[in-house]
Amino acid sequence: MLDIQDVEVYYGAIQALYAINVSVQEGEIVTLIGANGAGKSTTLRTISGLVRPRRGRVRFMDKDISGLPPHEVVRLGISQSPEGRRVFSNLSVFENLEMGAYVRSDPEGMASDLEQVFGLFPRLRERAKQGAGTLSGGEQQMLAIGRALMSRPKLLLLDEPSLGLAPFLVREIFGIITDIRSKGTTVLLVEQNARQALSIADRGYVLETGQVLISDTAEELLASEMIQKAYLGE
């Protein structure tokens, strides 16, 4: 479904990604893990078109999408819940979800997806009219994920959805990610919380200083001694 081929990304003179190869099959949860600054967010930003690769290609459903502007990438069926939530604090919760559905023009489908999002995150329904800026951090994270779901993406990119959340909320969020996949959305998940990410993922990629260090099934990665030492804190 998604194929990142030899992608190199620079920020000015600084190289952030060195010939990265990542692929995601339809129906999978794939996770990218790695330390701060490894290039996880940059990988997602490249897929979404927020940064352009200097070399290499991003293919999605057999189409070269490298260099497409972000709003066109969304139309093809890839949406992202960015690092740091980035909800529109000056808009209400409901308006944020409306913005998530910006590319759509099917009112019935949108209404049913809104129900689905409210089903996943009942608290958003209660707070629908409230300003998004008044939500707690956990609620804002739910809104960011819900907003990304409103475009009914084929592929959902999640950048550190568990960041800064209380442990019980982290479990809740990971449970919801599993639900999202079981409803037919493919997920590419960036996480620092490597153990929990691997426990719900099918496959994982370990990034280090802009390169793919290892890629394997989630089970193998969880079992690997080297990974346990470096990323699972054992």
Binding site: R86, F88, L91, G100, R147
Partner: protein, 299 residues
């Protein structure tokens, strides 16, 4: 009312600042061009005039002048955005600011080239003409002047209400607010941010065009440098209201105009000094403006 004119211009400053964090110095000159477009439309298109009075435009004629000026000013605004600002989207903000000053000068001096350097007579609005036009040159008083102010105020209020409906009730309006808050996150929603920015220029410039025609029928003349002072005052009004805030710009414009008119009635030569003094005082007390948010400059 002068205040409603300033309010209409201030809206454009505040909206463009909202989406681009750019002070569009050319905005006052778009207002000037709008005024001239209205004038030429009236001269050459034979818009409805009052029976037998060539220098008097009917209310319907005024609305048509405004409409044409709004379309023309919107086109100019979008052209400026496309040619001067969009190529600088990733450039440092100071670069765009200097470009804005350049565009402003281009319009001011280009305007003198095209429209001439002298004041040009603007038609009177039907029902606001004193018994003898000749004797009324320079501030005349009486009911006739009040009527033009009332009409200006009504039109301005209607436009602001329409704007509020657009911004809070329509998809592009909500997208505008989303882009103003976080352009990159907005693009991740599938919003074409360039289109929304262009739309912001369209709406803001159209309002300036309307203000240009209204000030023309109020003052009975227009000139190519009229955007300079009005632009600065409207910009200050936007800052006082809290730049980025639409109700703030409307409120700031009203305060600006009312205080200017009040002071001018007693100390004409001190008007601008007193007005700017009051505004500085407001900003000292409330640095983010009357309706500005503390976080407005976080980006």
């Amino acid at each position: 009312m002068l205040g409603s004119i300033y309010a209409l211009i201030a809206l454009g400053y505040t909206m463009v600042y909202g989406v681009l964090r750019l002070i569009n110095f050319a905005h006052g000159d778009v207002y000037m061009v709008g005024a001239f477009i209205g004038l030429y439309a009236w001269r050459y298109l034979g818009l409805p005039s009052e029976e037998g009075q060539a220098q008097v435009v009917s209310t319907a004629g005024l609305l048509l002048m405004m409409l044409i000026a709004m379309v023309g000013a919107a086109a100019l605004g979008v052209l400026i955005e496309r040619v001067a600002y969009r190529p600088l989207r990733r450039a440092p903000r100071l670069t765009a600011l200097i470009t804005a000053i350049g565009v402003s000068m281009l319009l001011e001096y280009g305007g003198q080239l095209v429209f001439g350097t002298t004041k040009q007579d603007y038609p009177w609005l039907a029902g606001t003409v004193p018994s003898s036009i000749g004797s009324a040159a320079g501030g005349s008083s009486g009911i006739s002047i009040d009527r033009v102010d009332v009409i200006i105020l009504v039109i301005a209020v209607l436009l602001v209400v329409v704007l509020q409906i657009i911004v809070h009730g329509t998809r592009p309006g909500k997208a505008m607010r989303a882009v103003a808050f976080d352009r990159e996150a907005a693009s991740l929603m599938g919003i074409n941010t360039d289109t929304i920015i262009a739309l912001t220029f369209i709406v803001g410039s159209a309002f300036a065009g309307a203000a240009g025609v209204l000030v023309g029928v109020r003052n009975h003349y227009v000139e190519p440098l009229m955007g300079l002072t009005a632009g600065i005052k409207a910009f200050v009004a936007a800052v006082v209201g809290g730049i980025g805030s639409i109700p703030g710009a409307a409120l700031g414009g009203l305060i600006m105009g009312l205080s200017e008119e009040a002071v001018r009635a007693f100390y004409p030569e001190l008007a601008d000094a007193v007005v700017f003094g009051v505004l500085i005082l407001i900003l000292v007390l409330r640095p983010c403006g009357l309706i500005g948010s503390q976080t407005a400059e976080k980006v």
